[in-house]
């Protein structure tokens, strides 16, 4: 049975930290703003080069912003988890009655809150500066965001489990994960552009279904419902697998003494 007060404690801790720290709040806006400015001008330039009716803004800028949203969601989970790593707080937290699933739910809710702020800033800035609106995607916006959100959560939980298992230094393997995924996800080009082996990887990545969908919406083609459903089901499957993986790593850490050693040298 979930105890919401424990989940609330994880979320409240993150709120307290963000409220009191500009360095935690700024990344929610700064990278989004930089991407909007950079890709906003690139798309404007590309539009000036071509006389065709091809619309670069919703195709490229929109895709960049959707991918930014996915990164914010993933980092919303990992940042909340890393706060416990950085403050060597595992012994204090995991010796309380909180269950591992309550803890993970707290990470997810913290991510929902922080990524919602990032999304709102994206909406406002992109619309104000370059006249781009996510509503260009119509009703498809909801499944696009949902799939990216679910996959971001799954990846964030998986990344947190990796750091729990291999230690604080491995967080540097976690930050570039979205950059590694992006070529396979077809953020900027159709999946058919990729060599065959890369296409096989794309098939198992939920964002690739979203970005294929984005291109279809912008070009006025019809989106296959099955394609989005596949992306959604894959993302849901990854959530289940990542939760299982985190719980398994946690149980191993309790068995090996890793949780205790994150705070103290207690194996002697």
């Amino acid at each position: 049975m979930f105890h919401w007060n424990r989940i609330f404690a994880v979320v409240l801790r993150q709120f307290y930290l963000m409220r009191g720290s500009l360095s935690r709040v700024l990344p929610l806006f700064v990278w989004v703003a930089v991407d909007i400015i950079l890709w906003g001008f690139i798309t404007r330039y590309l539009n000036s080069l071509t006389s065709s009716a091809f619309r670069f803004v919703p195709m490229l800028l929109g895709a960049v912003l959707l991918y930014d949203f996915f990164i914010r969601v993933m980092q919303g989970v990992t940042m909340t988890f890393f706060e416990d790593v950085w403050s060597r707080n595992f012994l204090n937290v995991f010796s309380t009655p909180i269950s591992i699933y309550e803890y993970v739910t707290g990470l997810v809710i913290s991510s929902i809150a922080s990524s919602a702020i990032g999304l709102a800033v994206m909406f406002a800035l992109a619309s104000f500066a370059f006249g781009f609106s996510f509503f260009t995607y119509g009703a498809m916006l909801a499944p696009f965001l949902l799939i990216l959100f679910l996959f971001g959560i799954a990846l964030g939980i998986f990344a947190s489990a990796v750091v729990l298992r291999f230690g604080p230094a491995t967080e540097w393997f976690i930050w570039p994960i979205p950059a590694f995924i992006s070529p396979f996800a077809g953020v900027f080009y159709p999946i058919s552009t990729l060599p065959r082996w890369m296409q096989y990887v794309s098939i198992i990545l939920p964002p690739s279904y979203v970005f294929e969908g984005v291109r279809k919406v912008v070009s006025g083609s019809e989106i296959s419902g099955n394609s989005l459903l596949t992306g959604g089901l894959l993302a849901g499957l990854y959530i289940i697998l990542s939760c299982w993986f985190f719980a398994w790593i946690y149980r191993q850490a309790v068995r090996s003494g890793l949780i205790a050693r994150y705070s103290a040298e207690s194996v002697s």
């Binding site: 007060n5 801790r13 307290y16 595992f90 204090n92 010796s95 009655p97 103290a264």
Partner: protein, 246 residues
């Protein structure tokens, strides 16, 4: 009913036996000292009682409930303070107490935090970041957190290690009061034998993961032909075999 019952506890890391068949009990209103040299297995034992380390063998029951099968219920009745587990320094004193109060499901939390801030002389640091407190103030905060849920079992791993003698005495008095006034029991580790003699009703000497001696800290040294508890401690640390064969 015993507050804590530990039966045949064993933990092995590779070739190192950290805890080897340890059994003991803590009764209500009792303060039990867990003593031993560095590496004797004290912290490993405490970590297993806290549920952050799984024993290879043995059982841990708190108020009759097994931690292996009732983790959340058991930990709701337990709390701890340890010098090596400070609360996050990037949160204020109040924020730390609020968050841990929520994690432990403390009722009337704001009122409870107010009481503890008074009791541990932390009112003026209410909105100070925990990381900027002196080590003594951080220890007091750790103890305030440990008292949040009025635990039935309080685990203290060298709680007065970084305190000056005056504050250490106050803290000892508070913990004695906690044990005598409520229904809780305390398991206390310390390297300060004067303190142990003053506070503990009973002591357990651990050496190489095993309980070597057990008894009243005031009479135990005489029973083993030693003048003081400190002398007995040094013998346990350096020549445990002489006691095993005595």
């Amino acid at each position: 009913m015993n507050v804590l019952s530990v039966t045949n506890l064993r933990k092995v890391y590779g070739a190192t036996v950290a805890v080897d068949g340890v059994s003991f009990k803590v009764s209500p209103n009792e303060i039990v000292g867990l003593l031993g040299p560095n590496g004797a297995g004290k912290t490993t034992t405490i970590n297993m009682i806290l549920g952050v380390l799984e024993p290879d063998l043995g059982t841990i029951q708190i108020e009759g409930m097994d931690i292996a099968t009732n983790r959340s219920k058991v930990l709701q009745r337990t709390n701890f303070a340890a010098v090596y587990a400070p609360l996050p320094g990037n949160l204020t004193v109040y924020q730390n107490l609020k968050i841990f109060g929520l994690l432990y499901g403390v009722k009337d939390l704001s009122e409870r935090i107010g009481e503890l801030l008074q009791e541990f002389d932390l009112v003026r640091f209410r909105n100070a970041k925990s990381g900027v407190l002196s080590s003594g103030e951080q220890t007091r905060l750790g103890l305030a957190k440990a008292m949040l849920n009025r635990p039935r079992l309080l685990l203290l791993d060298e709680p007065t290690a970084s305190l000056d003698p005056a504050v250490a005495r106050e803290i000892r008095a508070k913990i004695k009061e906690f044990a005598k006034s409520g229904e809780g029991g305390v398991l206390w580790t310390s390297h300060n034998m004067f303190e142990v003699e003053e506070v503990c009703d009973r002591v357990l000497f651990l050496s190489k993961g095993k309980i070597l001696l057990e008894g009243d800290p005031k009479t135990l040294p005489r029973e083993h032909k030693k003048k003081t508890l400190e002398e007995l401690f040094i013998t346990v640390a350096r020549e445990p075999l002489t006691l095993e064969t005595a």
